[in-house]
Symmetry: D2
Subunit: 377 residues, 4 copies
């Protein structure tokens, strides 16, 4: 693990979800650019001190020379955005699979280079668009794919948060500070942090690609250096249209990321607050609710479920599904076996490129007087 | 009543809600441009045949000469949009108060002329933006007005319907036919029918005025002559921004009109499916749910409520609130009494002008390459 | 109308719902045992002073001698329980149909006598078990009847209220005072007021009859003279079992009366807070939600619905359905026509007898050491 | 780990939740009474073959002689009920802490003996009443304890399941088979399996003790050997009353265990389907909803939460909270530190005794003609 030392948020989450299914064990780390902090973090995690490193460079250099049974297989990168590309590239070129937090990189170019590295090395890269790990989100995608809704006409996706409705970066809040700092976060704030999730979810579930965008992005809280609010009109390659909303200034809002997709024959609706339900709207028959663990689901849902219907699975289980499918793919390939199609269903560098392109295009559109901007990635 | 004969939809609704509080009695009508149909409708409604007319002109001409205790006080117009202005103007100039279905008129100019007539005659006009009649919508407006949410930053409003997701006007569906006919509906389809409701709700609850709009309007169903889907980015006079979504092609969707407003200090959320709840989001204290008839409400909610908390009031009660406040205003003025502020809270010609301007601007924006269009009414 | 003068609650509700569908007009009343109050109430309701009476005896004696086109058809009794039987019997014996608030009478014997009078006179009596007027409750009954759930095994019904969680009868609250007064309410408090609703709903939806009961009834608030809380284990004639809960001391609870019925093949769930949804649980297919006005409903639901799906109908519409079906039955019979089966679906004296028997048995059981008491009516 | 081999359900759950917080590592196991199966299971779990045992006796005998840094600290028992007491007693007497699935034992006597063993040895025992691990359930308990609801008057608790609504034990369903077998499950079926959960939840949240019970227990599915459905009226030591419902024949029901507690000043409501919300009802102010990770919570909730508000935590996280608090207590005691009060909040042998007493009393009451049975444990 690179990053995720004491006080970090997402690193701890990764440790929980990687361990959840007993497929991956944390054995080494460079938890901070401050060696003291890295060592202290490693001790707290009961790691062998010899495998707690003072830098990620040192970790990769050392680990690659350990025996095949001992050395790490996967490097997990949970640092701010500006420290994504370098360690990921270094890991790949030294033979390690990579888990990477989103957005993939600092710039779109880096994302493209990473994609090439993955193709060259034949290694796996997992990009953590967690919401696609929910069983009911997977089911939603399969349902669209099956044609049950007919041709898709409309996609609404939203991610309303409220935690940045004040100038939190003026306090010692580490999460707020780096996310609102152009030097660490990149050219986008909210659009990079949660807009990319909404965008990824929209393309994942609908199976469509955005081709045009018309956005209003804003910095609402005085003094903030990056956008904290935005909305965009979308057009998709099949002629469908959509709306994307993402904000961090909806005071009091939690994290209720939500998607609705309507086709010629019906519609579907999913939201994180009721993550184990997938609501289906039909013009000619009663509303249906598919449930995690319940009847009538595809293998994409059922193989990403751990508990019987009614025992809610949550965010950590969704996240763990990414890891499990990633590990399943690596293990099968290592053993020369065919990978089950449900295992291949995890986000990677293609999503990374689309996400970085989204950041570029929505920020550009927000600053532009041109109504529609063509979306190219 | 003008229009609303056999087979009509909204006319029957008006009769129910006008009668609900025992303040208004239906005594005369010109229910159809077809005299036979008008007479048949009158008979079904147990009306005195002498007061069932073959045309609205005849009704107004006759009724105005009846004695003050006998003649009608209010003319209620429930015809398609192209037959709004003429009967309304005729009623006003002959001394009758007017109830008018939305959108107010066929063109923005007509709406402005109607507004002048109302001012000149000193009569009352009720424009039926029903959703503003819900007690919890009124409470939402008062809450914003009170400053409890701080300065408003964001408004999301949506009205998803699915009933026009097929070419219903190709069947003998009367509701679909006139609403999709430019000659009867005007320059807009969905934007006029439900977009105006969403727009009115946004301005009513937020207390803000839209100053700029950037829209994508579409005709999704092949063969249709007017828009059936649209979305718009909004900017308000205080610097807030918003998103408006209205569609009639969300297959399977009912009528869950919904609004969310976020300010510096908190947010609120209301939707028709759970019409008796007003959800309040706060960053620093638990989520709260205000309930029709429950504790902690203003007079604007409590005086528009008929039953104890937990006995749901619905669409018809919301609609009846418009009528009751309208009647209360007329009666108080007739008796030279001061009108209670909660009675004055019903939509009128100002809302009519704003609504017709909305239709003009959103359709223009949808057809324009210019990103932002200034909204002037 | 008998009772329902100024300050009364349910009388005003009856006036709204009787008027709702334009089938019934309020033309006469004895609104209070205090003549002055009765006259004042009549004036407020714009009634002809000649038909506002100083007593119900006077009203019935006078009205029965008016011409058939003028005299009232229906007597509506909205007085406390101890003034139910006498006016109802007088009305029936003088040729008037009767609308009666629940519980039917003061004692079970009175209910039986009323039933005989109805049979003798051939007149109609409507007993206001309002919740059976909801379209989705009617649908629930039909669904059970259709066998879709298989043989019924379990019924849970509950009515939690909180308004009597303090000694409200110690204030000038008129509603609390008579309901907690054995002289006006009868032998039961909560069990009579809302327990009967729960009981009626359970038998109505399940189509089953209770045959045994084992209850715990209680007076929780100090000083109160009647029960304010209770629960009972139930056994039904087909071998099914159930639980009934009714309380008025659930502080903060509104009026979320709720029923769940499970059969061999599936279950259903309805609650007043979400009155327009009927939730169906199936072991082998997705959960379904039937919606008022939506697809897949029987005529019993659709003919008791006024607005398109998604425009919520509430308590008043449910109540008005009782009146409408009652009026439809009277009108059809008066015209010698066959009554549509959906019109016959309103509660009457049979429900009144069952309800009064319920009061007797649950109070007896609550006071008894015998575990199971046979339920006979 | 004892039990939990291939094909078992709850063993896999234990492995996930024990690992979740990085405090406990699975290093040894006797996964089945069939040695071959045990070894195969161990291999799948990447365990050292030397520490995969052919019986739990062998495991305990061997492990206790390993060095203190190597040997296991905790024995986790996930076998059917009839194999609870023996391994638990053996583990305790050999110096191991114990994790035990509920119900604690096969008989009440065994539970009492286990309690004595725990007291004698000073070791810790965790009894897996998982639902008490939910942050919002913990908050509910604290809220009652704080007096915010006033004296408690009413407790409703329910656990409706549908999975045994057919004769599933007639198939090769392992879960159904042992749970409906008196030889493995004990004297109760549904009452032992889920009734104990409901009972435990009621006492945990309310802080009250049941003193009298009046039950109806039933075997609904023909051929079944144990109860599969039941309900009970409850009385508590402070004079409050309650209702407990537990069934496995509610066809289509999932696992929506739910509790409502009402006091003099207000009420609370929690259900597993919306596990991250705690609904508070107040007579004099708006309904409030406390949310996992949200504002206004005690340390008992916040220290049992891993993710920010709005990222749902589920059943596995609730379960992991039991393990974490258990491990935290063991670790602190081992290091001579004071245990934080929130760590001590996990169920143990006292809950085990109460639960086994519940089984005894509810089954006895169900078979008895005596109305109220005194509850003694």
């Amino acid at each position: 693990m690179i990053g995720g030392g004491k006080g970090a948020f997402i690193g701890a989450v990764h440790r929980i979800v990687a361990a959840m299914d007993g497929q991956i064990e944390l054995v080494a780390g460079a938890f901070s650019s401050d060696p003291e902090k890295s060592w202290a973090s490693g001790a707290e995690l009961f790691l062998d001190p010899a495998r707690v490193y003072s830098s990620y460079q040192e970790m990769i250099a050392t680990e690659k020379n350990l025996g095949p049974d001992k050395k790490i297989d996967i490097v997990c990168i949970v640092t701010p955005n500006h420290v994504h590309y370098e360690p990921a590239a270094l890991a790949l070129t030294n033979g390690f699979h990579v888990v990477l937090e989103k957005p993939a990189t600092f710039t779109l170019e880096e994302a493209k280079k990473l994609d090439e590295l993955v193709k060259e090395t034949g290694l796996q890269l997992l990009l953590c668009h967690t919401y696609t790990g929910y069983p009911m989100v997977k089911e939603a995608r399969q349902l669209v794919k099956s044609g049950a809704l007919g041709a898709i006409r409309k996609v609404y996706v939203e991610y309303p948060q409220g935690w940045l409705s004040t100038f939190l970066e003026g306090t010692d809040n580490k999460q707020a500070s780096w996310r609102t700092d152009p030097g660490q976060s990149g050219k986008a704030g909210a659009m990079g942090d949660i807009g990319t999730h909404a965008f990824n979810l929209a393309e994942y579930v609908s199976g469509l690609e955005v081709t045009q965008i018309c956005a209003d992005t804003r910095t609402v809280v005085p003094g903030r250096l990056l956008d904290d609010d935005g909305a965009a009109l979308l057009r998709f390659h099949n002629g469908a249209s959509g709306v994307l909303m993402a904000t961090q200034i909806a005071a009091g809002a939690e994290n209720n990321v939500r998607i609705r997709v309507f086709g010629e024959k019906g519609g579907l609706e999913w939201q994180q607050e009721d993550a184990n339900s997938l609501v289906l709207h039909w013009p000619d028959k009663p509303k249906e609710i598919l449930r995690t663990g319940g009847p009538g689901l595809s293998e994409f849902a059922s193989r990403n479920t751990r508990t019987p219907a009614g025992h809610p699975e949550g965010y950590l289980e969704a996240f763990a599904n990414l890891y499990r499918n990633f590990a399943c793919t690596i293990r099968a390939r290592a053993q020369g076996e065919e990978v089950h199609e449900t295992c291949l269903d995890f986000p990677g560098t293609r999503d990374g490129i689309r996400g970085m392109a989204f950041i570029d295009h929505i920020i550009n559109s927000g600053q532009s007087d041109q109504k529609w901007i063509d979306f190219k990635a």
